[in-house]
């Protein structure tokens, strides 16, 4: 184990935010169903908090592309997620998405039983697959006239399955997609998030010129390579890949760098 000069606590904050976000979509169906408190409804296709609407940019884009109708409330619902992605990049994936939350939990759980701090990625493909996944998804959606991939989008499915369980005491069949995504995570960390998630790809695309980036200070770096091994997306922050579109700003490398060579920087 590496001795940390100054332990940052980003990981704990992330766990807290992920847990809070998960509790929201876990508890909202109960409040809706058993107490008729509909202050919060929905999940990550569209979340309503009071009169505030969030709409997932990918789902909103597809709805507009397929129906060919501009509906102003839909656009307004997409503003905040798009602004967040513009400034902070793919931060939804790293800090909110329940799929990554489950993967993070399983990583933490695994560390209890093994001495190896980081799991090895058994299947590494080209990162560009992510863009093809997005393009393929949009094309298929337009051909079919229905947002088919997104309807099986794993974060959305988790919300739907919780709601189905609470409202109808059953699970929808398509929930196996969640199990599949979690299973491939055991082969390669965040396999689905790295190569296949169209929503993550869209957020990465929007956040390509984001303000908040993981920046490496080459003078402080002693090239221990810990950041590269710790990155759940298999990026190499030591080669400056924290600046690339792929990085989702989870801060694992920032937390783990023993020499304070990696940090978040707000670019003006």
């Amino acid at each position: 184990m590496v001795n940390h000069r100054k332990k940052r606590n980003l990981g704990k904050w992330r766990l807290l935010i992920q847990t809070g976000a998960f509790l929201v979509i876990l508890l909202a169906p109960f409040l809706n169903h058993y107490f008729q408190i509909d202050f919060i409804q929905g999940w990550y296709q569209s979340l309503g908090i009071g009169k505030l609407w969030f709409v997932s940019p990918l789902e909103g884009l597809e709805s507009i592309l397929v129906s060919k109708i501009i509906y102003l409330p839909l656009l307004i619902g997409m503003i905040i997620p798009i602004l967040v992605a513009l400034f902070l990049g793919r931060i939804f994936c790293g800090w909110i998405c329940p799929i990554n939350y489950f993967c993070d939990l399983s990583d933490r759980f695994g560390r209890l039983f093994t001495r190896r701090r980081f799991r090895r990625d058994r299947l590494v493909l080209s990162r560009k697959l992510l863009w093809y996944a997005l393009m393929g998804e949009i094309l298929l959606t337009l051909i079919l006239g229905a947002p088919i991939f997104v309807f099986i989008s794993p974060p959305g499915l988790i919300g739907r399955e919780i709601m189905m369980a609470v409202f109808f005491h059953t699970f929808a069949l398509e929930g196996v997609v969640i199990l599949g995504v979690l299973a491939v995570n055991l082969v390669t960390r965040r396999f689905y998030c790295r190569y296949m998630c169209p929503l993550g790809a869209l957020l990465a695309f929007i956040g390509n010129c984001r303000k908040l980036r993981v920046v490496q200070d080459q003078t402080a770096c002693n090239e221990c390579g810990l950041c590269d091994r710790t990155c759940p997306l298999g990026l190499n922050p030591s080669l400056g890949e924290g600046m690339s579109a792929y990085c989702w700003n989870c801060g694992e490398c920032v937390d783990n760098c023993a020499h304070d060579a990696i940090s978040f920087k707000w670019r003006r």
């Binding site: 008729q36 929905g42 129906s67 088919i148 309807f151 739907r160």
Partner: protein
């Protein structure tokens, strides 16, 4: 009879619009209030499930993967739990798949009485359940020589009459059923 005719036409019409899999909308299987035409419903709906969550009566049920590309879209099973026209779902729909309309403007379908199975029309007894439960009594359903008659001008297709109807035939149909006529409307771009 005209109404029934166009309802039967609905399914092949939707299929001809290029759908890979038929729409689940049919007799007593209705989209929630304010729904855009079935032609674009599946494309516009982002399956966020907010209409399902907000419905206080559990009238709205999301379709699962067995509905093919329609999976995740909301459907009301009129004879099981009808729509009580509380209009909460149209308030929360983020995409405009359910458009904001008033209670009276809802046109989920049209109630059609089967005069061969309705006990009042068969003159077996004097049932007036559908008339009594109709939220627009005397407008949408009135009694003509004690027999219920639906007025297309006012019927919202909410299905309360279908749900209340005591008659169920061998095929599972009620003596008054909702035909989703308006789902077949085509989109004006």
């Amino acid at each position: 009879m005209k109404s029934l005719g166009s309802a039967i036409l609905l399914v092949p019409q939707a299929a001809s619009a290029g759908d890979l899999i038929d729409s689940p909308v049919k007799t007593n299987r209705l989209r929630p209030p304010g729904a855009v035409p079935e032609e674009i419903f599946t494309g516009k709906c982002i399956r966020c499930g907010r209409c399902v969550e907000v419905c206080p009566y559990k009238s709205i049920v999301p379709q699962d993967i067995k509905a093919g590309i329609h999976a995740g879209t909301p459907l009301i099973f009129a004879e099981k739990i009808p729509c009580y026209l509380c209009m909460k779902c149209v308030q929360v729909c983020p995409t405009g798949t359910l458009l904001k309309i008033g209670m009276e403007e809802v046109r989920m379908g049209l109630a059609v009485i089967n005069r061969h199975t309705c006990v009042t029309w068969r003159e077996e007894t004097l049932c007036r359940t559908c008339y009594n439960v109709c939220p627009f009594k005397e407008k949408a359903i009135h009694l003509d020589r004690l027999r219920p008659v639906v007025d297309e001008k006012y019927c919202t297709g909410c299905g309360m009459c279908t749900h209340g109807c005591p008659i169920t035939d061998k095929m599972g149909s009620k003596a008054i059923n909702i035909e989703p006529l308006f789902a077949s409307k085509s989109v004006q771009w």
